[in-house]
Amino acid sequence: MKEIFKITLSLTCVCIAAALILGAVYTQTEHIRKEQEEKTERQTIQSLLGYGPGKEIPADLNVFSIHRYVINTADAKTMLGYVLPLKDKGHVLAEIELSGKPGKVIPLEGKESEIAERASRDKIVNDALPDGWKAVWAQTLYVANLGDKRLGYVVPGVTQGFKTFIHLMVSLDPDFTVTGIAITESEEDPGLGAEIEQGFFRNQFVGKTQDVLRNLKVVKEPLPDDYFRALEPAKAKRAGMTPEQVREARDKYLKADIYALTGATISSVAVTVGVKDAVRKFVYRIDILNDAIKQDNVQVAF
């Protein structure tokens, strides 16, 4: 009997010691980790828009964030709320009913940095809503402008991968043609599913228009060699392909389906479904949002 207490006490001590160490490390590293995550996210968005190492970011590139909220009203109705940046600083929350009918436009109080931070933004949005209403953040969309011209959109997406969820981002041009995808978070198996991060897989999505994307499938066929080289800029360079030849090779497969990764069909399908889904929903939503902005005459920044 005495021993069981000793064992319990001993194991408790081990657990407490481990918890204390973990807690200490967490509090010390968390803010740096967060900063880095934000930095990588900014870099991902910039590289999706075509800027990064080797291509200077122009001074008149503006990336605006649109935060989408799901609002539950006091009488158990659901509607959407978009946090939109205004032309003359400040933000508004534009309500849109599920049917697409625009609702009220509520001005939000709070500085730029408070809106950017998720926790403080959640509070601001919920404070602006009537009592008993609840808003939950769903996703953040990005609209990129070059000066006054629309450069494109960056849309996040989530899809069920082989093990856990795959988080990805898709960039679109103003006609909603895919210009690039990036995998932001995944825990697929190294060497198999994790290959979805490789250029030769991701770049297969580049140039897929709305029509192609709608019927896009995954085929279990080996990637043709000329296409493979064209999809990897570094390989194309080494093989002595000129930019024109690369474009030609890519154009040849512009309407082709996605070639699955060897040994990772599930992950390949997951990404394809995720991209299709993210784009389809975004196109639908941005249409409704643009209508609502026009009807309510909101002076948005983008």
Partner: protein, 207 residues
């Protein structure tokens, strides 16, 4: 000091975790489709193995023998989590490459087996070298398997074409190839032991 080098050597060849002890074969098959993957996972294991071995060696007299296994698991999980949190702060570039592998480690048999067989009975210094030796041995094993599979499977090494675009045996980078390669290397190790000692080796590692 000589004894410590002996311990390092022991982990590298005579008790190589993959080819002699036949432990942690699951990640060894899954991950080794390229040398780079093998190297990354190996480095992550070196860190966790050394830190866990040292921790257990220091506290070995305080850990009640009847709860040693849960205590080891907590120690390993602790170091895996700590590395997972500290590494992105120290070096985001390295973390981006290794992150996937670090999270796999908690369930590796080789680490808990070394804690149980060695670190729980030996003082700090030998435990450190044993952990180091096992980690390096594991890395060596993964790299060797990865090199053979990558070379024969896709004709590359570290992602660079070395066979001029030829891909001799695609099956090698599929899971089945992992079993082939590890099996053949294991057989080679046994054959060498037989040639050197003249005795027929016991099957597996005996653990």
């Amino acid at each position: 000091m000589n004894k410590n080098i002996q311990l390092l050597w022991n982990g590298l060849i005579p008790e190589n975790p993959i080819f002699r002890l036949a432990l942690s074969l699951c990640p060894a098959v899954a991950v080794t489709t390229s040398v780079k993957n093998g190297l990354m996972l190996g480095l992550a294991v070196v860190f966790v193995q050394v830190f866990s071995s040292c921790t257990v060696a220091i506290f070995r007299s305080y850990i009640h023998p009847r709860i040693r296994i849960p205590a080891y698991v907590i120690v390993i999980a602790l170091w895996v989590s700590v590395i997972d949190m500290i590494l992105p702060v120290i070096s985001p570039a390295v973390y981006k490459e290794v992150a996937l592998f670090v999270k796999l480690i908690v369930v590796f048999a080789i680490i808990i087996s070394r804690l149980e067989l060695f670190a729980s009975k030996q003082p700090l210094i030998p435990s450190f070298f044993d952990g180091m030796g096992m980690g390096i041995g594991f890395t060596f094993g993964l790299c060797l398997v990865g090199a053979i599979r990558e070379l024969s499977g896709v004709g590359q090494l570290f992602g660079y074409e070395v066979l001029g675009g030829a891909k001799p045996l695609l099956v090698m980078i599929l899971p089945a190839g992992g079993f082939f390669v590890i099996g053949f290397i294991m057989a080679t190790f046994n054959w060498l032991e037989y040639k050197i000692t003249g005795k027929i080796p016991a099957s597996g590692g005996g653990h």
